[in-house]
Symmetry: D2
Subunit: 135 residues, 4 copies
């Protein structure tokens, strides 16, 4: 089950003096996509945090194919790649308004209790929800 975000304009402040988007910003775009995907499933990450579940990124990789420029619009395709257990794994494909492949990546997220700062298992209700969404 893949999810594709809305088309989003590149912000001026996201470029650097190479005159295209700074490579660190793609991790922020992936995060936006992941949270928009969660939202689309009816899950508010803001509320999850208030209830004591943090989901930090524990591994990330990105392959940059071609630059994204100010003035461009992009969308991100997100796929959950495994049955969630202690971690969630996502693949991302980011394309510009001409459907050109800009970059692709992968992140692994853990579940963390903010009180103890210790890993925790994915809550059962989320396992069921995510399970029906995995690729």
């Amino acid at each position: 089950m893949k999810f594709t975000t809305c088309s989003t304009p590149v912000r001026y402040a996201e470029t650097d003096q190479m005159k295209f988007v700074h490579h660190s910003n793609y991790l922020r775009y992936f995060e936006m996509a992941r949270l928009e995907w969660l939202s689309s499933l009816g899950v508010s990450y803001a509320k999850m945090e208030q209830e004591g579940i943090l989901m930090p990124v524990v591994r990330a990789n990105v392959e940059y194919k071609t630059p994204l420029f100010f003035g461009d619009h992009f969308s991100v395709e997100v796929v959950l790649v495994k049955t969630p257990k202690a971690t969630l794994e996502f693949n991302y494909i980011l394309r510009n308004q001409k459907e050109e492949l800009i970059c692709q990546g992968n992140t692994v997220l853990a579940f963390l209790s903010p009180n103890t700062n210790r890993p925790m298992r994915c809550p059962e209700s989320l396992v069921r929800l995510f399970d029906s969404e995995k690729a």
Copy 2:
């Protein structure tokens, strides 16, 4: 009593496609300077927050004189301008490695209780400390 920060190199990611530092980053530089000043007085802002005092910015202004480039180093001069009561007010002067004036600014900070999200008075111990430091 003015305080001047260490010389800090401009980071590549802080530039934008105009090929100099993005104007929003100066507010981050002012913040760094303010927290380094606090530190120099023996006050850890990290600890203040743990003890329940937040200091959000409630007003900021910046005048940009000349660009700051990747490869430049800058320092910030900070001055506390008034006896602290409900707010703290600071002036900043940012210069590059040639002592050229890059920008100057001013911020006002309030004291906020994170539990109630309501303004609070500056703790008495800080009033005394800051009072002896004001311009």
Copy 3:
């Protein structure tokens, strides 16, 4: 003539450990709003830059009224406040999804030639366009 941007979700990476949007990000939101306004007039800032006109911010001020949180959506109202000459001046009002006032601000922009890094006058075609838009 005022222009109001689309509703935009707050990004997670825009918060800091105070648990709301970092104050420097509002200058980025104002920039987005200003460029969206330009776009709405049929002017591409990306193209302006390619044709040799930079518009750096030379003065900015912001008054922060109440925090904006992750999960919130905001829109920005932009008004051009004066007949453009050597500079352009804008007022901004930023509100959340409940129409609460989050912050308001003002920026002044100059026209700069990227080749000489020297100020230049606003091109005549833009003067005419902007003139019909001023408040």
Copy 4:
């Protein structure tokens, strides 16, 4: 030949509401480390760009081990891992002030001509310099 950067304080704006450094910022820290390493070899990346060599990141990966907090200081160990040809590959280890491993990563950089936006070979003078530095 490994190079270790100066100790750098975490900036407040680099945290997010999880109360530690946002994961995208480590790519910025790696970049700082890489450019400081270049500098230590007597190479100014600012000058390289002026002479027409861009070095965009084409692949990045990061493994996050434990959080880095506001108030912490970190240093980055950088190692060039291969003889440079069309690309440069670096390994990074980032540690806090207690020498705890915060994260490790790897980036691959290409050489790009800004005029054509096309890949180019590493200039011969850099090959010789980097060659003597590789692990």
